[in-house]
Symmetry: C2
Subunit: 337 residues, 2 copies
């Protein structure tokens, strides 16, 4: 049964197990430094579909079905799926999961969705409400670009602070028992907004949310950064990662620099792949957690990883109306099997 | 601790309590048959804001703060809020809750969101993960029209099957103990899609999802329609409600006609208020459940209500790409205090 620890953190005493995980990506991500980690690389970014939105659904479906298969179960064994994406009305998720006949709790947490889905799924597994569930999310560069910024054909210039939405999806199967990495605790974040209005600088908008949630988690659990092998933020990129470390040091007297990694800096070679400040998108952290991180926790190479998914909760409408960019970050403590 | 009953339903043995609820609506809803039920009617549909999206945030914030106040607590007493809306990237919710400093689990369930938020909130309260949480959702006619259909200034003709998105919000405060109506069980729905492609006929698209979830719930709990005072669907409207009863009778041999009500048919006088097939929108069922239904459960006038929130999971992009409209319905069993 879940137990609250401190103000914002919830411990999961039964330690729900991730019995299967899969990550699939597009061509550009398959040319990056983590290529070897992924379960599948789509060389054709259309995934054979007639639209970018349908391509995103295809990639998410691929991750979900691979994770379920790797867990050694079938879709009928899954009690619930927690899923969401960046597209308007989350159609990446809807059309991905339409045929699977699994109860769906639809989520919206922008790029924090992998952490949110793992958090809610593990909370409900720990409580006994679910025996087995799936957490998933996805993003696609081409569907995101035309929705949030410009149609690709326009050839808009990308400023240095911009990040590259990853074409990627990750999925994890959580069960109340079995073999695999555990989810030990979760922290659901609060919206933070320090007034950033530049929709081409998501890292700066999200850094305060990551700082707050990391500080909350460490404070609630009475632990220090060095107690973790990695504190992984989702997709702050180069600018957001620098800001995060500055905010934590200045405001909270916490130095995470020895253990911090960021999904947006891991998925691409930012010096060679022309992605400006790094990767972003729900699928960025989703794919990294559901490959690199969980695989190393499974093998014992990593012992404890605090995954902090970061999301910018704006829309192109709110930005056009002059609003700043509120952000949120959710934390999930992953430990080795 | 939550206990699974049958294939899809989860019982909540601790019977989480709704210690406060509030519903606020716009001018047109305040001219309808439920006017007396609502906590507040905004005569100015802009709510004094500079855009329809900001107006929607204002109405949701009003419902949330009123519900918290009626519960006799403060925002600092709320452990988590479950919230979502229809706007792209759920900005109705983000900007509504930005200043409240409450951990946020963002949801997307289209018009099923009130049921989804009540379901997840009560599940996590029953498990002990949360002491107190809030479930909320909202919709606004003007923000929905221009996002899903036409700008209001265009004066688009509305076909007979169209429904009128309610300008409304409901919020409920759920606690592990106290006085008020209880949440006894929940069923999270599966996506249903019978191939309806007419984006002006949401009721028809959603009816199969409602039928499936109602049948699942009755089957899992081994109960009959007459065991409930009301089986309330969210916003099927006139066409969807007729279809729902036909589907249940024909496919499942279940007759709910004696106890069925639909939020879309309750919120307006459909003969006089020019709303074609009835009301719709997250806020439609949200406001009705958080006023009419919960108030009568609180007074004992109603004993048992099965609330089945219904959502159409399309976007204007998916419809323009020729996709049919997948739908989902989640059920929450509400009982008197």
């Amino acid at each position: 049964m879940p137990q609250r620890v401190g103000r914002y953190t919830i411990n999961l005493p039964s330690r729900p197990v991730i019995i299967g995980n899969a990550a699939v990506v597009g061509k550009k991500e398959g040319e990056g430094p983590l290529a070897e980690e992924f379960d599948h690389i789509f060389d054709d970014t259309t995934m054979g579909e007639a639209s970018w939105e349908k391509a995103e659904s295809a990639i998410q479906r691929e991750a979900v079905t691979r994770a379920i298969s790797k867990a050694g179960i079938g879709t009928a064994d899954v009690d619930m799926i927690f899923a969401g994406d960046l597209l308007n009305q989350c159609i990446g998720t809807t059309f991905s999961l339409r045929e699977l006949n699994i109860p769906l709790a639809g989520l919206y947490g922008a790029c924090s969705t992998m952490a949110l889905s793992l958090a809610l799924g593990s909370l409900m597994t720990d409580s006994g409400a679910l025996g087995t569930c799936v957490a998933t999310t996805s993003s696609h560069f081409c569907s995101a670009e035309r929705q949030f910024r410009y149609p690709l054909e326009y050839g808009g210039q990308r400023p240095p602070a911009a990040q590259w939405t990853a074409t990627a999806s990750g999925a994890a199967v959580i069960k109340n028992q079995g073999e695999g990495p555990h989810i030990d605790a979760v922290t659901i974040g609060r919206i933070q907004d320090m007034g950033i209005k530049d929709a081409n600088n998501m890292g700066a908008a999200m850094a305060p949310a990551a700082a707050e949630t990391i500080a909350d988690f460490l404070n609630d659990t009475n632990t220090k950064p060095e107690d973790y092998d990695i504190i992984l933020t989702g997709d702050l990129g180069a600018i957001g990662s620098t800001l995060l470390k500055q905010l934590l040091e200045k405001d909270k007297n916490i130095d995470i620099s020895a253990v911090h990694k960021d999904g947006g800096l891991m998925i691409y070679d930012i010096d060679k792949q022309d992605v400006n400040s790094g990767g972003s998108g729900c699928g960025c952290s989703g794919a990294i957690v559901c490959s690199y991180i969980l695989n190393r926790l499974r093998s014992g190479e990593l012992k404890k990883v605090l995954f902090v998914g970061t999301g910018a909760l704006m829309s192109s409408t709110s930005s056009k109306q002059g609003e700043s960019i509120p952000a949120i970050a959710h934390a999930v403590l992953l430990s080795c099997q």
